[in-house]
């Protein structure tokens, strides 16, 4: 049985924003899979749950007049996985969606919720008063850290759990956010909080703010994209290592690229070093190998997760080379 909370399901976005803003211990319920898990595990208590599941306007997927795509924040992961237009124009996103959790959770989980997930670190989810939960230290740093970060760690060493966030970053997605001050647009690259900025916060949303939609620009001519994820078990799990790639190709040469890693860092990790290694180069084994090396140039493994470094190198190289075979 979950600890008690009050519950409201507003029928307008404005009311949802007000309800969320009104109480400090109010939490947003979209699909509910992450929230209920956190409440079940006692990660934090919720005084009030504000459900946005009645906001039908947040469920649409619509092609924009500029050729881009607007995805309502309540769109389920399953819809992203199966939508034919997304599969054709943004393969990285449908491939990432297909790798999220289990079929049951994909039916329930939403894209907005997937971006706002709490970390899966076993100390954070367990009965440890860790830094991220308001305590004094990160227990992973000197503890069981085989699934923790190798890049971007500082004070807290989680990995970001989302598969869709790296895919959307590779596509230069932006977010539409509604809040007490009205609407604003936010590049996805500015959503997630690195631990050296604040180890107790995951996202830069203000009190009462709700992500309403995710916008994708029109795919560039020559765009090739993919997502691949390595898990500790075959059926379903969070990423041990993953890579979202979006390459704009011109006659076999890389004109532009995004290389974004999952399972690597406390935030979805864009590797600009890997991108620079590919820039303007013909896509071949040498360029792919160099990009893979560069992606790991700053890696600082912990005691039990050094295996991730060669794993990422192999993964990135293999995935890049698949575009040549195409």
């Amino acid at each position: 049985m979950l600890p008690g909370f009050s519950y409201t399901r507003p029928e307008t976005l404005k009311k949802a924003v007000e309800e969320l803003k009104a109480a400090e211990d109010a939490y947003l319920h979209a699909g509910g899979t992450d929230l209920l898990g956190c409440l079940h595990d006692g990660v934090f208590p919720a005084g009030k749950v504000v459900s946005i599941s009645a906001l039908k306007g947040l469920q649409e997927v619509r092609k924009l007049s500029d050729g881009g795509l607007l995805i309502g924040a309540l769109t389920t992961i399953r819809t992203l996985e199966t939508d034919a237009d997304i599969g054709a124009r943004y393969p990285v996103l449908s491939q990432a969606a297909a790798e999220v959790a289990s079929p049951q959770l994909r039916e329930q989980g939403t894209l907005g919720g997937n971006l706002c997930q709490k970390p899966r670190c076993w100390y954070y989810r367990g009965e440890f008063d860790c830094l991220r939960k308001g305590g004094k230290e990160c227990f992973a740093f000197n503890g069981q850290n085989q699934f923790h970060c190798i890049l971007g760690g500082s004070a807290c060493y989680i990995v970001h759990p989302s598969d869709t966030a790296p895919a959307l970053l590779a596509l230069d997605a932006s977010l539409q956010v509604s809040g007490p001050q009205g609407e604003r647009s936010l590049p996805l690259s500015e959503l997630h909080v690195a631990p050296n900025d604040d180890p107790r916060r995951e996202i830069y949303l203000e009190a009462g703010e709700i992500i309403t939609a995710i916008k994708l620009p029109k795919p560039a001519a020559g765009l090739k994209s993919s997502y691949r994820k390595i898990r500790a078990r075959q059926s379903w799990d969070f990423a041990v290592a993953g890579v979202a790639l979006a390459l704009v190709m011109d006659n076999g040469t890389v004109k532009d690229s995004r290389v974004v890693l999952s399972g690597a860092a406390p935030i979805p990790w864009r590797s600009q070093k890997a991108e620079q290694a590919l820039q303007g180069k013909p896509l071949n084994a040498e360029a792919a190998g160099l990009a893979a090396m560069e992606a790991m140039a700053d890696a600082r493994p912990l005691e039990h997760n050094a295996y991730k470094v060669p794993m990422f190198k192999g993964l990135i190289k293999e995935e890049l080379l698949k575009f040549i075979a195409d």
Binding site: T8, G32, P103, Q104, L105
Partner: protein, 209 residues
């Protein structure tokens, strides 16, 4: 006393079975355990807040029947199905969305009842393992699991069957890979997976014929 033939162990007969007794006890509790203040119908007036001490009056569509219930906001659909309605076919496993024992269909799609608040299930069509029966006859997917011996201890079986049913309703002719993916949200501690895969194949064939 009517004579107990001992041939069947289901609550349809005149004898009182263990399962029948437990379900009746559960249903009785549902009627007496209302201590909180009664709030408005969530489905109709969702915008008003239900405090943690309140009971919300909701209607759930379960196996085609409208069930009127008083629920606390924190109650999962799983808890309501089993402990308030006596539908004990849906099993309690991990209660954290990892094992699949509590799989039900919501609007025809497989979902974990443990990760769904009962108040969130209003206005949806909920199907549990009991809802797959045709009277006293097993449904096609249930029958296929029986014929293929797709279980050992049987605890995960209702969840496995509901996951299979959800998969086959969308795709009655899945490939082996699609079956593996479609069934990946359900754990079987006994490791009956090869037989489960056979049962899904067999259930698909029954549905197509």
């Amino acid at each position: 006393m009517p004579e107990n033939t001992g041939e069947h162990d289901c609550s349809c007969g005149k004898g009182l079975t263990r399962r029948g007794f437990l379900s009746t006890a559960g249903a009785t509790t549902a009627l007496v355990a209302v201590s909180g203040r009664i709030n408005v119908n969530v489905a109709q007036a969702a915008a008003s807040e239900i405090t943690s001490e309140d009971m919300a009056k909701i209607t759930l569509d379960i196996n085609g029947r409208q069930q009127r219930l008083l629920v606390e906001p924190r109650w999962s659909l799983l808890f309501v199905l089993r402990d308030r309605l006596g539908l004990s076919g849906t099993k309690v496993g991990c209660e954290r969305g990892e094992c699949g024992a509590c799989t039900v269909l919501i609007d025809g799609r497989p979902r974990y009842a443990c990760m769904t608040l009962a108040v969130e299930a209003t206005g949806r069509k909920i199907t549990t393992i009991e809802g797959l029966m045709n009277g006293e006859q097993l449904g096609q997917t249930q029958q296929a699991f029986l014929e293929e011996d797709a279980y050992q201890c049987g605890y995960c079986t209702p969840g496995q069957i509901m996951a299979a049913e959800g998969l086959l309703r969308i795709n009655p002719d899945p490939t082996s890979e699609q079956i593996a993916t479609g069934m990946s949200g359900n754990l079987c501690r006994c490791g009956a997976y090869p037989h489960i895969i056979n049962a899904v194949n067999s259930a698909g064939a029954k549905k197509r014929n």
